[in-house]
Amino acid sequence: MEIKVGKQRNVRLIAVFAVILPLFPAACALYIYSRTYAKSLRLGLEITPAEFSSIMSRAVPGLLGMSAAAILIALVSLSFQTITQSRILTPSMIGFDSLFIATQTVLVFAFSTTGGLFESPYINYFISAGVMLACSMVMYRFILQSSGNNVIYLLMFGLVLSGVLENGSRYLQLLMSNNDYYRVQAATNVTVNNMNTSLVFLALPALLIISVLILYRHRTYNVMSLGAEQSQSLGVFYAKELNLNLIFIALGMSLATALIGSLTFLGLLAVNVAREILKTHRHFPLFIGAAVLSALALILGQSAVELLQGAIPVTAIINLVGCSYMFYLILRENRI
């Protein structure tokens, strides 16, 4: 009986991955098609090999950047949901991406005279990731500990924090010189169409390291989903794990936000759809499933936008779908 059930579960996982994994190269192909042949067909122009490779030189970093950001968002969202014992919270919902924008603004504002420092996207990233790390360690550690994983409290905190940070950033931006203002805009107004491609080559090794570290701990996450106290009594040093996860989340969210801007609902969507179709509590398949689904959603969405000639940005579509899905989750589970 037990063996049969175990087998059935594995069959489900294999079937799901057999469907979604091949979809990934297909989505990449569709994206390249949408930027090359679809465009040339529409305009009635032949595409020369030189033009093709020039488009590819922009499309490939774009694909890499989107995949890296989407995968990072999915991984840190799932780890965040496990440590907060919630299926609805994601790091962006409690203000991690507003924190990134505020950090960028404050950095430019405070160091406007030494502007050259921030011309390099790498130095900029490392400084802002460092600041974010420090802020999130102090704030979220305090908040997570004092709230006792009270989701309502965390959501309220996130709402207020996002509001304060966004308006604070806007206020500082008003005080800035024009040059500084444009510098902030260049760093924070990134979208999928206007990606910070210079960061892609930093993103890939970072993605690799973060995903290896997170996936390596998948068994610990399984136990942590029993809750702080119970997992501590099963030998998980919870305070250490919490800090480690806050580091992953700060690094991952700052990188993803620096690459493609704020995408509030992608993590929620990817993680919950992965739970829904994989029907498992085990984190290894969940992490991989959520990462693949997240990348698929972003790349397929972006391809659709290209094919429809950019009528609406993909972030709007994802946020719309994700937001409706969140309503559905709240109504179905009848709790937050």
């Binding site: 068994r219 136990v223 106290e229 009594s233 030998g235 040093f237």
Partner: protein, 259 residues
Amino acid sequence: MIEIKNVSQSYGRKEAKKTLSDINLTIRENKITALVGANGAGKSTLLGVLSNITPILSGTVTLGGRDVRKIKTQDVAKKIAFLKQSQQMSIRITVGDLVEFGRFPHCRGRLGQEDKRKVDESLEYMNLPDLRSRYLDELSGGQRQRAFIAMILAQDTPYIFLDEPLNNLDIKYSVEMMKIIQNLVTERNKTIVLVLHDINFAAAYANHIVAMKNGQIVREGCVKDVIKKEVLNTVFDHDFHIAECGGKNVCLYFDQVQN
């Protein structure tokens, strides 16, 4: 051996909010120790401190003569198993999966032959093999509690600490649970500490009772020493009537019963 010395703990940094103040306690080996007291007396906090889950403000908790804070969490988990009060789960898992979690301190989630054998044995002991592939949310309260005890058993620790194990159980299941706990002491040589809300369950099944009030131990001793009118009246701020029934003390606390 678990011993705590001069332990204080408080929520918030204020002295006034002390949940435990200056507690000294030695856990009796191979016995059932019941922590009793009114709401907010500090029973659950004390249990959390004993299990190395709640950090302490001052004092020491020693496990086998060593300060618990200096022992790795994983190694503490091989000695002490703790079951929290309400098992509200954010995930949907089967009984088998849950019991396998009990092996985590030993194998970090990679189950070997020995671990699988312990899991099977614990399920067997708690009479759960048929329910192994059932999801926890499909079970009755009593079955679910048995599944959690099976997890604790799979953890294979000499010490088992239970925070209100009878919570949400009806009378039949409560008695069944207390019998299981008694068997764990006699058959498996476990040392058990549990928080009990119902003083009569403590009187009937515990070997040693620790009565707490306002974060302090008011009285500890064997059942006859603690289940006394004058002790309980102070501990619970209530008028008790102690009756004897079959050689055991039974507490009556209804105002209709006159002394």
